[in-house]
Subunit: 203 residues, 4 copies
DNA sequence: GATGAATGAGCCTTCATTCAT
DNA sequence: TATGAATGAAGGCTCATTCAT
């Protein structure tokens, strides 16, 4: 059941998106989606094999791609770059990504805010984990290079990563317009930069 | 239908608490609660007028009290105190509160993590708002006293507050034991302290 | 949800019985049963937790008891008795049982003819297995006592047992009245007696 | 919509056969068959007018032919033959038939095991009836010739016939390989021969 | 104070079938 | 020949709630 591009399916997708965004996966009603799209509940199953499949069809592509991007990003971190981007410069949450996210805004909102009950319900946690790894790696490098002496426990890193990613969550949850979002990100970036520098006793 | 202290009600409350904590308000099942408590669904309605009322009965007292404490706290902020507690000393999230929260752990978890669908679903946001006001107020005072020159937009303050409160959320969501929580809070406190000082260009 | 003896439940049970007997477990419709009983489908769930539970409530007692009787019966076989009851005298299918079966006719019909899809769907096979064990045991004893020399493969015993039990199946499937059934059993008994004696070359 | 020999139809038939054999007529899903065959459910209706028609198309030829063979067989019974084949020599279940059945194994399995809900659901009973007639006829002849004095009621004949045919049923239901089946049949043959002789007091 | 009995709306899903194209 | 799109009915089941007793 790959892509079908009929008019009905387009309507259907729009309705699915709306319903899932509004109520989240679990509370979303297939019957309601169908009615909105002007077909019977049974008709939906010509296009999607299950409720889960409907959700996945909306987000799978973006989720997959995003995971790839993240992994690649992680591989690029090395000592040279540290000097330029001290702090959390390689964060999962870099300014450059905002573009990507805003090109797939609904998908991200679905993944982060509305995915409970689906196999994507851990997406936000995945982001946090990524940020954690990124932080941990960076700190390790900074220590190896002699910039930093202090250590952090896993818990501490988890907390900072979580708080950090929350910024992203908030931006998306409140449908913040892109320009504001960028300002916002920039601010968070600097705010955290200060926090890290201070915490790492780098100056 | 105020307080009834029969044995049944005690059992009932325990079951309600467990169910709401486990599944959240919306997914919690009244029928299931009743069965656990050893009464019929109808019996529940002798004690509580609705599902909402059940939830409220568990958290209302703490929520109310908490709001009061917060307001009072806010009134106490003045110039004198500033000198001692520069930074985010008056945060909604001060170490001293941990005690209060841990004395009502379940209630806080219900309010923050499990309240979607109830009139308390904005509780976390309320905390954030409180933190925002606290921050805004403090910055204002610091400016008036000449410690600080920079300004912050409302959005910036919102973001920092949100990220900050997320710490609390994470602590509660994961049932972190009190001792670990305190360590954690202390860390966040310092982390943010550095961030604020740097952001405010206080040094 | 043990026994409730209200009028509704009585009607309900009657309807369940009828529906299951008529259509078998899988094709039986809960909605239809409910309608016949004059309640809504949801109402059924006050009395039974699931479709399976409905079926089980009708047959569990008899099935359990029957298994017990069979096991006990099996333990009673010994050499002494052989001389009196040569042939298949200790069959799962003795005349004496007819009484028991006719006292629980519907239950047996449900178990044997209508149980596909339930955990009792192997009931008939169980009877066959019991008959097999009985035959195997008897042949072994007869050999040990020197009455018999020939051997039988497992498959041969399975076949004869299956055909034998089929008698029971047919009697029940066609709602044969008890008197006719007894005649019938008696006939089968003798018919098989001849077959076994001949097969075992006992005379 | 008689025979169409396109490639699609061949695939379709294969899928129908598999589905019906696996689940029986009633539980078989047309949608599922179509999917397996790589066409849409609607496509199926180009080839067959209904689910029933699908089933019939698979078994009609064999069923018809089989009925003919049986009738012819019946006409051949006469006194001469009796002397050679005393017992149940003319049974519907003669060894010679096994070949025929194994040449149309799937069709027989469909007719006997999977036909509930179709107009062939009585096929097994038909076999039994045939066996009954055969037995009745034979006994009558034996009586006329003075070999036998005892009489049998219709019910008694029905029972023996049913048990007898059950052998066939079991053989087919368990996909017994042909060689084993023949052994098995031979055994049943002899077993019943003994039973009949004893019952008829022929010796 | 609690039950027993029931309801009506809703849930996701499957079914055989239809029909315009 | 087949598809694509859809249907109406039914499936078992759960829900918060009601009400007479």
């Amino acid at each position: 059941m790959p892509k079908d591009k009929t008019a009905t399916n387009k309507r259907l997708q729009e309705c699915m998106r709306r319903e899932f965004l509004e109520k989240g996966f679990e509370k979303a009603s297939l019957n309601h989606i169908a009615k909105q799209a002007g077909i019977t509940p049974a008709g939906v199953y010509r296009h999607y094999a299950s409720k889960e499949a409907m959700f996945e069809s909306l987000v799978a592509a973006v989720a997959e791609e995003f995971y790839c991007i993240c992994e690649e990003q992680m591989r690029k971190i090395d000592t040279d770059v540290i000097r330029e981007h001290v702090g959390n410069g390689y964060s999962t949450f870099e300014e450059g990504w905002i573009d990507y996210i805003y090109r797939h805004f609904d998908e991200f909102k679905l993944l982060i805010v509305c995915s409970k009950g689906t196999k994507y319900e851990g997406f936000l946690d995945t982001l946090v984990t990524m940020e954690e790894k990124s932080s941990a790696h960076l700190i390790q490098l900074l220590k190896r290079e002699g910039f930093v002496k202090k250590s952090f426990t896993e818990e501490q890193i988890h907390i900072t990563a979580t708080m950090y990613i929350t910024g992203l969550y908030e931006i998306i949850r409140h449908d913040m317009p892109k320009e504001k979002a960028i300002e916002c990100i920039r601010f968070i970036y600097e705010f955290y930069d200060g926090a890290w520098k201070s915490a790492l006793e780098m100056r």
